[in-house]
């Protein structure tokens, strides 16, 4: 493969990414800092057959997660049948009572799911976590592919590669599928959001309106877009890049100034589609993760194709015993935290830290999960002229339109710190394009 030529262009591609505003905004010590999202030109390559397997597993998982959400906010059969304990639903911060009895258009909750996977040294893929609220990241490999093609066209001549620039088409199909009549809008909190580049890029690529909260208004139980000349035009679907909490100050956090008052009242009546639906936090909770394989069997009557990392719930006495026994070999995660925060390795704690952590664990067992540390495969990245191995994961994007669609690419994130397992962009990692071979 003619990678060598592409690698020579690493700096050009990064310069272009900077020019396009491919940045990540991070709030640290109350200060907003934008930093570039470093691109590594060595792609992650996934063989055709391997991706066929992933695709099947991802469709299965996201289908089950959608059924779970629908069930939780209506009949709650999975709880009644004792598969998931009540405590993990109704006492969870991800559960939104406001969603009880409200059915989104066509019963779809997670239209866009970002599923994080890693490949172990044993060659086995493991699911690390599901992101069903507002998963971001698809735009980065999209634009990176575009820019790589531009800087090194020869590289792509003899590779049988799935084109990943069709993400916009898949997204449009997903949004159109639930649009109840009117414009499709991408709702952004604005330019100071970490993913603003992505919002504007996806709007441009899908042909949707890019709007902030003040450009949308509720009237007569419907949602309208205020055009430049002041007309109010009906909106049928909103791909909102605002978290549930800030979406509607009249129904959720009253302090929100980026939301739209009463948009949830309109949604409740089925007069607008919200993408993703509010309330999804109950399904991508780290505590619920443990139950996803059980969900697949429960709703689909199938064996899960993709495996979870081996996970223990200290909530169960048996698991608690195991966790205390094997403490040093496990990674512990606070279910309420995201973005790589609230993750601690048993082995890296001092005796004192360990003692106080175990005390907390015993007091609030529901709050934590424990996992075996997966020894995942390193990927090479370019540091100067040297290739060095780094930890990397893969965020696969699964879209739920009239059928589940898996984007034949994904965001590969790597840790730039050789000793770190945490690849989140908010923690300063970089990214790669993900090449899925077409044969």
């Amino acid at each position: 493969m003619n990678n060598v030529n592409l690698l020579k262009h690493t700096d050009d591609v990064n310069a272009l990414l900077a020019r396009y505003g491919v940045k990540f905004g991070i709030y640290k010590n109350n200060e907003f800092k934008e930093q570039l999202f470093p691109f590594d030109a060595i792609p992650r390559i996934i063989e055709h057959d391997e991706f066929v397997y992933l695709e099947k597993g991802l469709k299965q998982r996201v289908t089950a997660l959608n059924l779970f959400l629908k069930d939780i906010y209506s009949d709650k059969k999975i709880v009644r049948d004792g598969v998931v304990p009540e405590d993990f639903i109704f006492a969870s911060s991800g559960y939104m009572v406001e969603c009880e009895g409200v059915c989104p258009v066509k019963g779809i909750y997670s239209h866009i799911s970002g599923i994080d996977l890693v490949k172990g040294k044993d060659g086995q893929w493991y699911i690390l976590e599901d992101n069903l609220r507002v998963p971001s990241g698809a735009s980065y490999p999209m634009i990176a592919r575009e820019l790589c093609r531009r800087s090194s066209p020869g590289t792509f001549n003899d590779v049988r590669l799935e084109d990943n620039r069709n993400y916009a088409k898949l997204l449009r199909r997903t949004m159109d599928n639930v649009n109840v009549g009117g414009h499709t809008v991408i709702l952004t909190p604005g330019r100071y959001n970490a993913a603003y580049f992505e919002h504007s890029y996806l709007a441009e690529q899908t042909g949707a309106h890019l709007a902030n909260g003040s450009e949308l208004i509720v009237e007569n139980d419907k949602l309208y877009f205020i055009t430049a000349d002041g007309k109010h035009e009906r909106v049928g679907a909103v791909y909102r890049r605002i978290s549930d909490e800030y979406l509607d100050p009249m129904n959720f956090n009253p302090e929100s100034v980026i939301g739209i008052p009463h948009i949830y009242d309109v949604f409740r009546k089925g007069n607008v589609a919200l993408i993703n639906a509010p309330g999804n936090g109950i399904a991508d909770d780290k505590g619920i993760y443990y139950f996803v394989p059980k969900m697949i069997s429960y709703y689909l009557g199938e064996e899960p194709i993709l495996q979870n990392a081996p996970t223990y719930l200290p909530f169960y006495e048996e698991d608690m015993k195991y966790v205390l026994d094997k403490f040093d070999s496990l990674v512990l995660k606070d279910v309420a935290e995201a973005g790589g925060y609230g993750v601690v390795f048993g082995s890296s704690m001092t005796m004192e830290q360990k003692e106080s952590f175990i005390k907390l664990l015993k007091a609030e067992p529901r709050r934590f999960i424990a996992q075996e540390v997966i020894d995942f495969q390193d990927l090479d990245i370019l540091e100067g002229d040297d290739m060095v191995p780094r930890k990397a994961d893969l965020r696969a994007f699964v879209l739920m339109a009239d059928e589940p669609l898996v984007w034949k690419s994904g965001l590969t994130r790597f840790s730039r710190n050789p000793d770190s397992f945490i690849v989140n962009s908010s923690q300063g990692g970089g990214f790669k394009d993900t090449w899925v071979l077409s044969q």
């Binding site: 709650k76 109704f90 006492a91 911060s93 008052p261």
Partner: protein, 278 residues
């Protein structure tokens, strides 16, 4: 059983014009096994087109927005209620039992409430064997004796643990604390907004599930909810059934006045002639 006439009137006066506002008002009592509502009349100033809806707790509400500049806002609802038609409020669904069995946020217990719960259990070894309604009566009785009714010590966002630590509060705090204790006892319990016979303000109490039915208990007054209470709405806590919520642009300083009157209709008095007073 009592026949009651009720009046709830909220007025907000602004020192400057409000150029835009939106509001959600959850203040429309509805029929249950215990109460039958009739002759409802709603007045709003300024008059706007309001939408009707029902939230996830089953509360009916109206919402809308208003672009006409105004410095006065009024919501006035009146009607009649026949109360005490049954001892329970309504039938509890299995879903409701699940949703309201777990405390969260405002009703989450802290160390003090956990200790208090333990002390209740210690003083009454048979507590855990009681049926829910009897647990609720025990808790209500003790809580009523423990907490001092006093306005101004707590606010809208005060949690159960905090109010309990302060040791003083109003109907909202009595209710939040009681819900927290009931949830710790394994009971499904929820917060209720409503009106009580007499003149004054809106009121709050608690409902608990016993044998598949919701029963009302009023911990502020240490009484069961029978024929002197008119239920308006419910939720897991006060924020979920807040009577009035709004956002406005402009308006300057605002003062809110709430007037509530619930009185018994004497047998000879016709409902119609009372209505004519307005």
């Amino acid at each position: 059983m009592k026949k009651l006439h009720f009046d709830y009137c909220m007025e907000i006066r602004y020192s400057a014009d409000v150029s835009w506002c939106c509001y959600t008002i959850k203040c429309i009592p509805k029929d249950s096994d215990r109460q039958k509502i009739s002759n409802i009349k709603i007045d709003m100033i300024p008059e706007t087109k309001a939408e009707w809806a029902t939230d996830s707790h089953g509360n009916r509400y109206i919402y809308g927005s208003n672009e006409i500049p105004h410095s006065y806002f009024k919501y006035h609802i009146k009607g009649d209620a026949e109360c005490g038609c049954a001892t329970h409020e309504s039938v509890a669904t299995e879903t409701e039992e699940m949703i309201y069995r777990h405390s969260h946020g405002i009703t989450d217990p802290g160390e003090r409430l956990r200790e208090y719960m333990e002390s209740i259990r210690a003083s009454m070894p048979s507590f855990d064997d009681l049926r829910s309604l009897d647990k609720a009566k025990q808790i209500m009785e003790r809580l009523h004796g423990y907490l001092v009714y006093e306005k101004g010590c707590t606010g809208i966002g005060t949690g159960a643990e905090e109010a309990f630590s302060i040791g003083r509060g109003v109907c909202q705090d009595y209710s939040h604390i009681m819900i927290s204790l009931l949830n710790m006892s394994g009971c499904s319990a929820r917060y209720v907004t409503g009106l009580i016979i007499g003149e004054g303000e809106s009121h709050a109490w608690v409902e608990v599930v016993d044998d598949g039915k919701w029963y009302g208990l009023d911990p502020t007054n240490n009484i069961l909810v029978q024929d002197s209470h008119i239920k308006i709405g419910c939720g897991r806590d006060a924020t979920e059934c807040q009577i009035n919520r709004g956002i406005m642009h402009g308006g300057g300083e605002q003062t809110q006045d709430i007037y509530v009157n619930v009185s018994e209709i004497s047998p000879g008095q016709s409902i119609i002639s009372r209505g004519a007073l307005f």
